[in-house]
Amino acid sequence: MWMRHNPLHWLLVAGSLLSSSCRAVFSDEAFHTDFQVQLFGTPLDPSSTFFHQAAAGKAGSLLYTLSNRLIIGAINPKDGAQVWRQQLGEGTVSETEPLSKTAFLRRSKDGRVVSVLGKAIALWDAANGRAVWEYSSELEAADVITLQTENQLLVAFKGGEVKAFQLDSGKVLWENTIGKGHDIASNFNFFDDQLYLTLNSPATGQLKTVAISPITGAQLEEFNPGVFSKLDEHVLTPQLLPVTSYRDSEYLKFNFLGTKNVKSVSIDSEIHGYRLHAATKDIVFVEFWSHSPDTPTSWADLFSIKDGSVTKTLDLPYENDISVFSLSDSGSGLFVTRVNRVEIRVYDTESNTPVKVFVLPKMLPENPLHAVAEVAKRRDGEIAVRVAITLADGNVILVRNDAVIWTRQEALASAVAAEIVDVHEAEDSLEKTLHAEEVSNVVTAYVKRVTRHIEELKYLPAWIAGFQHSILGILGVGDKSAAEAAAVAKDPFGLRKFVVFVTRFGWVTAIDTANHGEVAWTISLFKPQLFEKDVKGIHHFGKGVIVVVLASGDVFQIDAITGRPIKKSSMAILPSASVTTVESVTTDNRWIIAIPTKEGAKGWYWPDKNSRELEAALSHTTVSRKCEGGAGICGYSAKPDVIGRLILTQTWSFRLPAAQKIVSITNRPAHDPIASIGKVLGDRSVMYKYINPHVVLLISSVESTSTIYLYLLDSVSGAVLHTSTQTDVDTSRPIVATMAENWYVYSYYSRSTAKGTHIVVTDFFASANKNDPGRLAQSEISSYDQPRSTSPYGLSQAFVFPHPIAALAATTTRQGITTRALLLSVPKLGSLLSINKRVLDPRRPVGREPTNEEKEEGLFKYEPFLGVDHQRGSLSHARELMGIRSVSTAPSLLESTSIVVAWGVDIFGTRTSPSEAFDVLGRGFNKLTLILSVVAVGFGTMFLRPMVRKKQINQRWTQ
């Protein structure tokens, strides 16, 4: 009745609008419905991983590390919890370049650590990870050393420049260039108050060592003639040793600094790699391993370097497996810890029989890559050891004596691909059973139903047992965690998903979103290293089967629920081929299709069965890929041939002008239902959406003119549906895009007068006119039948956003009724933000207040600046996310709720309801209050009833 009154109507519309655009995280849901796996990445180098006291004089040390994702930080060795972390640089990590040459982490004085990444040097507070100071130079840093007595940090740069920084302020105390600025510095050594620097002089092609005054930086003396030869190569030498080490193909040599004294040890560098460790200045410990992975060997030698001579004092036996060594000085002596997959052996420096052997209860899942150990000798002579081991699967474990204390799943920080799997899809759902009953005849259906009911009886005792729990849970007095665990196990709303990752270490790992991101299973593909280009795809093949396709042609079928390997097969494939999946029209069969880059070559499909069905599936579509040379997209019609080959016929090609380079190709997500084909306007007319499942957004850029071009293509016919350009774009910064329904959103950095990150949204409608359904009115819509008059009508609006965006995604729900929200990963804030699509509506009125009709439609005035409002739009709330590169979404069984998983370094998972949780009671709904109020009303009626009756009777009598 009230709805008739217009002002009230406006109020309601405005209210619903506000509520839908400000769906945020409730404080009672935060940290319960979401999870974060905080990761560092795999420790890069043994020299950059160490135990160190967080504050001077404080007992207990933390484990510091620098990871392959360029994250430094501290881990509490007691429980493996993160103490702090910081990302070095912008977080972009080259996949193949060895990072350990340009990035390292070292101890410093007074509870500080110093990090170096290329040209940037930073000193950090070891207790809380705050920067003390930062310095960025013109040249790359080669080595750093902290002089304890001088309270300064010396940095040697690649050009031979040496700078001294005051430790507390970062002030440059002195600087000096050794040589003429052409020498490449490599290593500091500091002993007996003498400072030496080893450099490589390209002029002579030889190494040289110089003595430097640690007070003024002046070069005191240079020692090179007659010591080094042109073939010598420097070997990283521990800074406290009085020698510099280098090698040629046959020998490892030590030059006593300040003299011409050289001692050599025979080693074949072709076959063996080695690493030098030192904890005191008179012993050098050399760890050896074989370069060949097929014949793993390891051993170690201990040399005494005293009085100008190098003598081998101890050799730890040669073994035909991989073990890693760590040298530690516990204060009660030097100890060597040797770790392999089965045991930890502790040696002292006297004998090659271990003083203590700890056999691990379970063999480690992978070989160790490197380890750092702390050995303590108690008063009674008992040896205790604590080892942080980096494994070849990328994870870090801490072993105390013979027990694994904790495991950090650091390999997940190196994920190259991910796929969300619905846990329940694998099971035969009730829906399917009912459907089966429906289609069969009455008798069989009856028998089936009765047998099903009898079968289900076995759940009855458990249900009765759990009844009390669930009642208590409703009343809010029961064990909440138990009730929650029960809800997870039942998962009536389909909120539980497995996220399956392929990591760079050749492992496949699944995490459970309902269990705070705990690892559900992990399995090795037996590949030592995988890069992004090596993984062609990870696909959910239905029925709970995950298929991983590698560029090598290996196809792994893995049970997504248990992680059990089902089958490994292979497929002829070229590393450069592009891989997609095709679904059958009639059954739930799927195929993987590989299209080679070379023009005219045949493609492949896998599995090589049901080729008829595949032919049917391919007959109505085309497959597309980047053209040869990468200058556009080409579309092919494919037809299965014998032995898993595909005959490809090019049907269209879209080639870019020579200067344009492809930035990205975006498709609509596989699950992208559209509930409403039109948008109802305030005057009850309809703008029909442009709906086409085959649209592809191609973004290309021209660096010289700072322009990006956007092409909306039809992937079946190759028709160009829409184009637009943006000028003044910084093409060196990330350009990201996402597409869903009838719209796409992209973001770039603009150098125009409105400087900053821009977000542009474009909606496509069937026609510019209202009530014009365009092609939707036709009974059959074909991609081949697209005259110019039916090309979509695009409407755009641009917004300025305060921070760079690393990844864009759109939420997705089961039916697509819920409003979409755009998800933005903002690395500068460490947040995952959500912006309702209603805010990014290109129909928002510009430069004027909305008319009543527009208000009714839910539009409000356009504001160019899109601010960050955490309360309304931050999904990650107080959490700090690091290194998010990709955001995946999946529907749940609740129409209101979309599952979101963001990954890169950290993994963050949550559920979001862009239009509020309209189909489920929230945590705020108090069932106890409801029951109590019903009881109270009942009591009230009981009391009042006789009173009212009495009064009425009295009234009658008085009349």
Partner: protein, 227 residues
């Protein structure tokens, strides 16, 4: 070597006197606590300040140090946007112009502002105070008795109940004459409407037939109930 340092100390003021000699300058500043941010140590350690130039290579990033300071050294001449990236607090942005002579000019600016439109001029070692603290969570509206009392429907009900209980007392306190008149009035209204509880003996048939229309205005109690 001390001679060199001595020379440097002599030269340094000279260099400062002739800023033209310096090709690149250092831009510094600090985060200053205010009532939104009682102490700089409350900021997350990952808080960074960026100086964004036209090209990515000219853009710099600096962590906020333990004392709240930040520093960009060797900034080339150009115009830059200085921003604080922090999850827990919102900060204003600044425009920083570095002239080829090495002069640093700082202006207040905001996103979406046209770049040529310079804002208020600020001193160079830039002092930044947070504008507001980020609020992450939405508060659920629980059961609030005061809010319930604020509801107009509840207020009407309370007034009605109050009138019902107070009316007989008021009638008692009336002087006899008025009271007699009032009672008489009441009686007449009761005669006109003998069933004072319309729900108890509500004639559905006559109501639907429209024959009760005459009675309706005389039943104020019934009317209010239907509301």
């Amino acid at each position: 070597m001390t001679a060199v340092t001595a020379m440097m100390t002599l030269l340094l003021p000279l260099l400062l006197l002739f800023p033209g000699l310096i090709s690149a300058v250092t831009v510094t500043g600090g985060i200053k606590p205010n009532n939104q941010l009682p102490s700089v140590s409350l900021l997350p350690p990952s808080t960074t300040v960026t100086l964004a130039g036209d090209r990515l290579e000219d853009s710099r990033s600096s962590h906020v140090f333990a004392n709240g300071a930040f520093r960009f050294q060797d900034v080339k001449p150009g115009t830059y946007l200085l921003e604080v990236h922090c999850r827990t607090h919102l900060f204003p942005s600044f425009r920083v112009d570095v002239s080829p002579e090495g002069l640093v000019e700082v202006f207040g600016t905001f996103r979406g502002n046209e770049w040529n439109n310079k804002g208020e001029r600020r001193p160079h070692p830039i002092d930044i105070s947070p504008g507001k603290a980020s609020e992450f969570y939405q508060v659920r509206e629980g059961f609030n008795p005061m809010k319930l009392l604020g509801n107009p429907m509840i207020l009407i009900a309370i007034v009605a109940i109050g009138a019902m209980t107070l009316m007989p007392k008021m009638v008692e306190n009336m002087d006899p004459e008025t009271r007699a008149e009032f009672e008489k009035q009441q009686k007449s209204s009761m005669l006109a409407n003998p069933q004072n509880n319309p729900l108890q003996s509500f004639d559905m048939a006559s109501f639907l037939a429209g024959s009760s229309s005459g009675k309706k205005p005389a039943t104020p109690a019934g009317g209010s109930k239907r509301k």
